[in-house]
């Protein structure tokens, strides 16, 4: 079989094979070889990348969080000071607004979903579209056991802001033990541990996909570079399915950087601040190891929920309640207890980034190959402001972005950030968002 530019490939071409006495056929994606006028461009492949989100509730105190950028780098403010040890890995994104176009500001909801879905919700509690990180997961997560691993440190499975579609919410793990069991106990064993029995049904599925392999090689040998890239992308996705199946049929090959953790004990999982810190710390480490073991390349983490319910043991008021009820101290000019909760959230963020930075990978660390996007639901929670929602990135995304930047937008739509995250992750998208938040303007200041 030969496909030359003078002999275009039929759009109806199928790869055919036999399996268990039955004929099977696999269709092909759109290829330039089917349309010779388009043939001949080069191929560019993106290196592997991990992407994830990290969320905290109830924003920051105006004037006490946003750093300035001087010759010595970030000048952190009291509420961002816990980030001192990890600041070399960070970018700060400020001055981006959720623009509602006459739609209501549903408190603690509109900001998050304007940012994540590009759509300001019309009805309270009704999300009108999937969130952008799921598009990234679709891009990056096809070759791993888990397309995404999500957890909340609060113990409440409702605390998630990742929606595959308007109707489908991704459910997070709520305890370190459950996260461990999902990643390490159910499908990933230390070499030589236990008796391994592959599922015959899974084996048969792999056989079906393998049956066309020889014909595929013949096809590839006769295509132009661009079509080979397209075909490679297509079969990459097929191969990723195979690989996910293989993970279930073979004793796992554990990467060098992969370390098998001990199964964590039972811990209280609730909104108590000390418990949240402890659970978050344990689950962050498990997640980092899961990525080192290439079990997933996507994640969503909730440290504190929207309208933060964090509270200190023995106290009646939560972080959220403090934001509305606490007196502004006349001497210092801000709400002291509320600010302490912001600092606790930032301590959590620092711990999470450090957990990724602690895992060696290649010549650097796991964090170097991550793009972590952190944000809150509001800027100043006292009035539920959705202008200037605080956002950060951590990691260098495998060299795709630089760090140490403070980007101050001029009231630009917050969707610029979601668009940029998707583009960095290789999602083929030029415009994103709706109405006044529709944008094709990437945040180029952070690009390498």
């Amino acid at each position: 079989m030969s496909f030359g530019r003078t002999n275009p490939l039929s759009r109806r071409t199928l790869l055919r094979g036999m399996f268990q006495g039955s004929a099977l056929a696999i269709g092909l994606p759109w290829l330039e070889g089917m349309f010779p006028a388009f043939a001949g461009t080069g191929a560019v492949r993106q290196p592997p990348l991990r992407f994830g989100t990290w969320f905290w509730g109830c924003g920051v105190t105006p004037g006490r969080w946003s750093p300035t950028l001087g010759e010595a780098g970030f000048a952190l403010q009291p509420e961002s000071l816990p980030l001192e040890s990890i600041k070399e890995h960070l970018n700060f994104l400020t001055g981006f607004d959720a623009i509602l176009d006459g739609r209501p500001n549903h408190v603690h909801v509109s900001g998050t979903f304007s940012l994540r879905s590009g759509i300001a919700p019309l009805k309270f509690g009704v999300i009108e579209g999937g969130t952008f990180e799921t598009a990234i997961a679709d891009r990056l997560g096809v070759g791993t056991r888990f397309k995404s691993l999500d957890f909340t440190a609060t113990g409440n499975p409702a605390d998630t802001y990742s929606y595959r579609s308007a109707q489908v919410r991704n459910t997070p793990e709520t305890s370190a033990r459950a996260l461990y069991d999902r990643i390490f106990a159910a499908g990933l064993r230390k070499p030589g541990e236990g008796e391994f029995k592959p599922d015959p049904k899974t084996l048969s599925r792999i056989s079906v996909l393998s049956a066309v392999s020889e014909q595929r090689k013949a096809l590839e040998a006769n295509l132009g570079a661009e079509d080979r890239r397209r075909l490679d992308q297509y079969f990459t996705s097929v191969r990723e399915v195979e690989q996910q199946l293989e993970l279930q049929t073979e004793e796992p090959v554990i990467p060098e950087a992969c370390q098998m953790p001990e199964r964590p004990g039972e811990h209280d999982a609730n909104y108590d601040l000390a418990n949240v810190h402890e659970n978050h710390k344990l689950m962050a480490k498990l997640l980092a190891l899961a990525m080192a073991c290439d079990q997933t390349r996507n994640f969503n983490v909730v440290f504190s929920n929207s309208a933060s319910s964090l509270h200190r043991s023995g106290e009646a008021s939560s972080h959220h309640l403090y934001t509305h009820e606490e007196f502004t101290d006349p001497d210092v000019g801000y709400q002291i207890e509320t600010s302490k909760f912001v600092i606790e959230n930032m301590k959590g963020w620092a711990a999470f980034v450090q957990a990724l930075a602690d895992v060696p990978e290649g010549d650097g660390t796991l964090l170097d190959n991550c793009l972590v996007f952190a944000h809150s639901d509001t800027s100043w929670a006292k009035i539920h402001a959705v202008q200037g929602i605080p956002m950060m990135t951590a990691g260098r995304a495998g060299g795709r972005i630089k760090t140490g930047q403070v980007v101050t937008a001029n009231g630009d739509p917050i969707t610029r950030v979601g668009l940029t995250m998707q583009q960095i992750a290789g999602v083929p998208i030029e415009r994103w968002g709706t109405r006044s938040m529709e944008t094709d303007n990437s945040v180029t200041q952070i690009l390498a």
Binding site: G102, P104, Y322, E325, F327, T328, H384, Q387
Partner: protein, 445 residues
């Protein structure tokens, strides 16, 4: 000198707002669908234009703050009521900084208790169900605002329903601004208060900034921007956002479309004296929801004074009589009862104070005033005000009966259809009308 802005329109779509229509050089550009053309977009600060377009960039009560306003202290919050009945020693204990976490929570606890006592209905929907201590109000005689009725009332005349006028800081007498008297000692309506200081202003102005509210203004038939004895004025709501920069300053020259709901189209006439627009009194209705509430701004006998700056911006004030129910719904009511808790007042106390200080539109049968005087400050930036096609215009009123717990007659507008409020939360599970005798009977003494 003519100030115009040239832009290239890629595919010949003529970009022209209302300011284009009255200038010789501002004819809409005709272009074929395929040829790029250069179009002239007349700036909204075009000095030759007969139409001035504006978008509100700031709009908030013109509340005076002096140390003498509230000699009794600021208004009781619900949490204050919750501890009033406790022994003094216990009150002192709860107010110590290290114990305030409990004190802060007590307002929500009392709000929840009251809701349970009324089958889940927000106490703001049945404000006459409790006799809270009277609202602490402004006791000084100074206020910003204007004389709406041409009288310096001492409160003895029939038309003022017992409300005494203020004097302005500049000495003008007969200042009608009784809504300031009501809200002036609620600390969320003041900027100098420790608890919730400035919160209400930030909420309202924030709603403009995040695009939840947009108000447009159009001054037409302007022959002379400094002095003109007759102009036409329109004030409109819009669903499109006024742009703001990162410093939260309004950005001018946006093209913004007027809402299709004619209920929120307001027309009047006026004049320009020494660069100041002065409108004739008119009834003003605007969409004015903030943080998701389906509120409206309904002010009778509205007058606008607006200083028209050469750069196209404007600043001034808006005064009038706020319909009493709308004043309550817009600024104080909360479907869940949380707004009162977090902002330093109780719905029953405010409801009573509004009625006590209402000073306009006496009911011909009862003699009781049905509106309360108010004064607001406003800033505006130049804008291209675009009107939707006539065939798209509708007239509707938001069906807020369940939201506010009221009857149809309280919200109905002649010729307007009822529409479900977009984006509002559902009605309380057991919402009942304030006029329901059952709830009235349960009023605590």
């Amino acid at each position: 000198m003519r100030k115009s802005l040239l832009i290239t329109v890629a595919f010949g779509a003529a970009v022209c707002a209302t300011a284009c229509g009255n200038s010789e050089t501002s004819e809409p550009v005709k272009a074929s669908a395929s040829e790029p053309v250069e179009a002239t977009l007349v700036s909204s600060v075009n000095q030759d234009s007969k139409t001035i377009g504006l978008a509100f960039s700031y709009f908030w009560y013109d509340n005076l703050e002096t140390p003498d306003d509230c000699p009794e202290g600021y208004a009781y919050a619900l949490r204050d009521l919750a501890i009033l009945g406790l022994p003094e020693e216990k009150q002192k204990y709860l107010l110590q900084p290290e114990n305030r976490s409990t004190y802060y929570k007590m307002g929500y606890a009392l709000s929840g208790k009251r809701m349970r006592e009324h089958n889940g209905t927000s106490i703001c929907n049945i404000p006459d169900a409790y006799d809270d201590p009277p609202l602490r109000t402004v006791q000084s005689n100074l206020a910003n605002g204007r004389d709406l009725d041409g009288k310096a009332s001492s409160g003895d005349d029939v038309g003022s329903c017992g409300a005494a006028d203020f004097t302005a800081p500049d000495g003008r007498s007969g200042i009608d601004n009784q809504l300031y008297r009501v809200m002036g000692c609620i600390d969320s309506y003041r900027r100098d208060a420790e608890f919730a200081g400035g919160a209400m202003e930030d909420y309202h102005v924030g709603a403009y900034r995040d695009g939840e509210i947009t108000t447009l203004m159009e001054i037409r038939d302007v022959d002379n921007r400094m002095n003109d004895d007759y102009v036409e004025v329109g004030v409109y709501s819009s669903h499109e956002p006024t742009p703001y920069d990162s410093e939260k300053k309004g950005i001018g020259h946006a093209s913004l479309t007027v809402t299709d709901n004619t209920l929120w189209h307001n027309e009047t006439t006026g004049r320009i004296e020494n660069g100041v627009l002065i409108t004739e009194p008119f009834d003003l209705r605007l969409k004015f929801g903030w943080t998701g509430r389906p509120a409206e701004y309904y002010v009778k006998d509205t007058q606008i004074h607006l200083n028209l700056a050469e750069d196209g911006t404007a600043e001034g004030d808006l005064v009038g009589y706020f319909d009493l129910q709308y004043a309550y719904w817009h600024s104080f009511h909360d479907e869940q009862g949380a707004l009162q808790v977090a902002n330093g007042y109780t719905c029953p106390a405010v409801w009573d104070a509004l009625h006590k200080y209402a000073d306009g539109y006496p009911d011909p049968e009862t003699g009781k005033c049905t509106a309360i005087s108010t004064a607001m400050k406003l800033d505006a930036v130049p804008a291209f005000v675009i009107h939707p096609p006539k065939e798209e215009l509708v007239k509707y009123v938001l069906d807020t009966r369940d939201y506010y717990g009221v009857e149809l007659e309280d919200i109905a507008v002649e010729g307007a259809e009822l529409r479900e409020p977009k984006g509002a939360g559902g009605p309380p599970a057991a919402a009942k009308s304030r006029k329901n005798p059952e709830t009235s009977e349960s009023k605590e003494e």
